[in-house]
Point group: C2
Chain length 185, copies 2
DNA sequence: ACCTGAACACCGTTCAAGT
DNA sequence: ACCTGAACACCGTTCAAGT
């Protein structure tokens, strides 16, 4: 559950890593892969998987934890290299990329928005967006007062665009629309 | 599958209606209600449910067919009574209302967007939005060229807002954002 | 032409028994 | 402290047998 609260016993740590490794592969091949099948492929009993990840969401969150982290850490970097508006845009592009490759992330973030247990990854995500919004506000590009949780919610469309050819263009069009909506008049 | 292609035999028609009636109730109590349980509650064999609705999506679409139809039919009415911009706004409010009451509609519309079988309800939906957009374009309120499918896609956030107290305000804020994004500069 | 309902393979989840 | 894996109740889906 916790990424590593107190050190796990060596075998437990090994199992945890192995489960995440197998789950990543299995889930990206098929987002609906059964937990039993993942446990079996990882060579652990079903109970072991449940001990480490008490729900499907917890497992997915475990798998994509690094990606979420990377996304959050990207914000300060983008803000030093680019003006706020393009920083926001780049960040959304990156978010879109993750969302489309890592199926299931969307559902998890959605669950995280209601479930109070998952704040560990949802919180930083919202904070990251908040930084981008405030920066845009300070530069006068964005209208003041935009809410980071709201923006994350709208950005959900990024995960519902099929990865196909037209997808790229659609993402661009829709991000334009959202950014126009955020802009100062 | 078809709402009523060629007339069904009397008993079949009766079963179909009964299934829809029970499914509406069961799904609104619990969006994940099992198809077996719905069949049982409707007093029909599992196979009968599958004969009428070959997939869960088809069933949900059957259940909410009337609501979707009503939504589509609302557009011309709104456009005669209101200027385009408020017509759009009112329509979105209504869409939001349906989405939050009738759980599962969102997933179905999403599926409908990829699956080519469901155009029967997705098509008219897109056409309805298109009318609203064109009207706003003609009046000079909306920037030209907005894509109706894109707009339906963004509006997906409407279904992911919890029905709670803060929900109403959130819907309002987010619709403002989208409308600002659509506006002519 | 349509319906029934048992049957199949599989699911998530639990929990006694092991080490 | 942690793991195993059989067991439970249930799922979606099919299909022989009925009318």
């Amino acid at each position: 559950m916790a990424s590593q609260g107190e050190a796990l016993r060596a075998d437990a740590q090994h199992n945890r890593d192995r489960i995440l490794e197998v789950a990543r592969e299995a889930l990206s091949a098929n987002p609906d892969a059964s937990l039993n099948s993942i446990a079996k492929a990882a060579g652990v009993g079903a109970g072991t998987l449940y001990r480490h990840f008490p729900s499907r969401e917890a497992l997915i969150l475990g798998v994509y934890h690094k990606e979420i982290r990377a996304l959050v850490d990207l914000v300060p970097e983008l803000l030093t290299k680019h003006p706020p508006l393009t920083a926001f845009r780049r960040w959304c592009d990156r978010l879109s990329h993750y969302g489309r490759i890592k199926h299931g992330l969307a559902e998890v973030l959605h669950a995280a928005m209601t479930d109070r247990d998952f704040n560990e990854s949802y919180g930083p995500m919202v904070a990251a967006i908040d930084r981008l919004l405030r920066a845009g506000e300070a530069s006068g590009d964005f209208a003041p007062g935009a809410n980071a949780e709201d923006v994350l919610l709208v950005l959900g469309f990024l995960w519902r665009i099929a990865p196909g050819e037209a997808g790229e263009a659609r993402v661009a069009r829709l991000l334009d629309l959202v950014i126009r909506g955020l802009r100062a008049r």
